[in-house]
Amino acid sequence: MDRRDFLRMTGAASAGLALPGMSSTAFAQERAPDRWRVFEVTTQVEVIKPKGATRVWLPTPLTRDARYEKSLGNEWSANGGNIGLSEDPRFKAGIVTASFADGVRPELTLVSRFATRDVAVDFSKRADAPAEDPAVLRRYTEATDLLPTDGVVKDTSSEIVRGIRADDHLEKARAIYEWIVDNTYRDAKTRGCGTGDIKFMLENHALGGKCADLNALFVALARAEGIAARDVYGIRVAKSALGYKSLGKDGDITKAQHCRAEFYLSGYGWVPVDPADVRKVILEEDGGKKEDDPMVLAARKRLFGSWEMNWLAYNYAHDLSLPGSRRGKIGFLMYPQSETDEGRLDSLDPENFKYTITSKEIV
């Protein structure tokens, strides 16, 4: 995309009121205010001591608009490298890929602009949301390398939903959500957002983790029950307007990656959930809160069916092959990724793979 297209799309968004293709009555049953916010997120990357040729991959905002997010374009530059945008064929994850020859210091910048608005589902009223493509639903019911849907996962999900009618996906999803809030915990010692190896978690009764663990657990358990569900990998971009200090970040968001989850409910579309953030409130809000604290109870209720959109969704991808990579698949793409001739770098090692991500609200 050249710079002129980027500015035209931003100009349209700055007019602010109704974005193209988005009717304000499309989801009349939602309670969330119909206000779009526009953000700009800048990712700057530097590989400090590259060995040989280097490749870098960065996630972009969702490539397909959702009711809570619209992409307004991406702009990039690579100092001495080749750079371009591609989309993975299975999950449509947008990936900016840069490659640098041996001897060139790898540096690149990605600027993404996007609009978000809060989303909430009113279960008391049928929303008549358009039906999802059956092929998409099949994709998000399948097992992945890190999310099996048999064995201990199915044993666990069966136990959780015991007594609930088999076709009552809403109550099953709710039961799974509540089970995760009640039985898991946010572990401050988990590195980054976690790894999402939910089979290991269940087999070893190691139910502590962070968002990529706890929300992946929701997704796997839901899929084991035949409910289409997906992780949504992203990053926080603003403080929470709802009074939760632990659930927002603005300015330097380098370490503010956050994964959420959705499940599909016929008639309602994709329903947002975030049990991991309930556990974050318990662990971190004002130094920690008891599970029956009013703030926790409010978050617990709100985060089944709604999201405050102070957050950018990148993609839904699992088991992703990075374009041009010489290494295997990655479990998910939420952090910048890099490889040199020495191998894949550690995305959480700033001494060798340095990046900063900043966010500002435009409108």
């Binding site: 010692k189 590195r191 790894t195 190896d197 089979k199 070893n204 894949r344 001494e351 060798n352």
Partner: protein
Amino acid sequence: MRTNRWIAAAVAFAAVAAFASNEAPFKTWTKPTPALVLPDLSGRTVDLRDYRGKVVVLNFWATWCEPCRDEMPSLQRLRARMTGKPLEVLTVNYGEFPQRIEPFMKRENIELPVLLDTQKDAAREWNAGGLPITFLVDAKGSVRYWVYGERDWSQGEPLRLVESLVNEGGHARR
């Protein structure tokens, strides 16, 4: 046979004790032993098969893993305690490069062998889904037990389990 029953009883006891203390118990390994061929910090290729005749305590760790750091001195103590006996402690670093590992080892005064799993391939083969995770390999080269979470390897049940494998009858390779 009597020795194997004793070991099984020791594992069962450890499981009960661990449950009572919230530690994950030692578990019996029921799958084939994966291969392990990795470079060490000097660049030398190390193959687990070369240690047949010795019991191997194989520990997966990372510098950023707090319980791993807490556990390492006890692995050093175990190794020192078992000097002259057919035992080796091998550590496998998960996902990091020498430029990060070497300063850490120096700073923490750790002198254990370190194998480099920079691409986490070995961790995948060994189902190391969390850290620290330790595998006890008998003198015939078969994984017998594994445990997730840090332990004090220089005393108590972990030491007894290691000693029982050593006493099973491996002999040092000449």
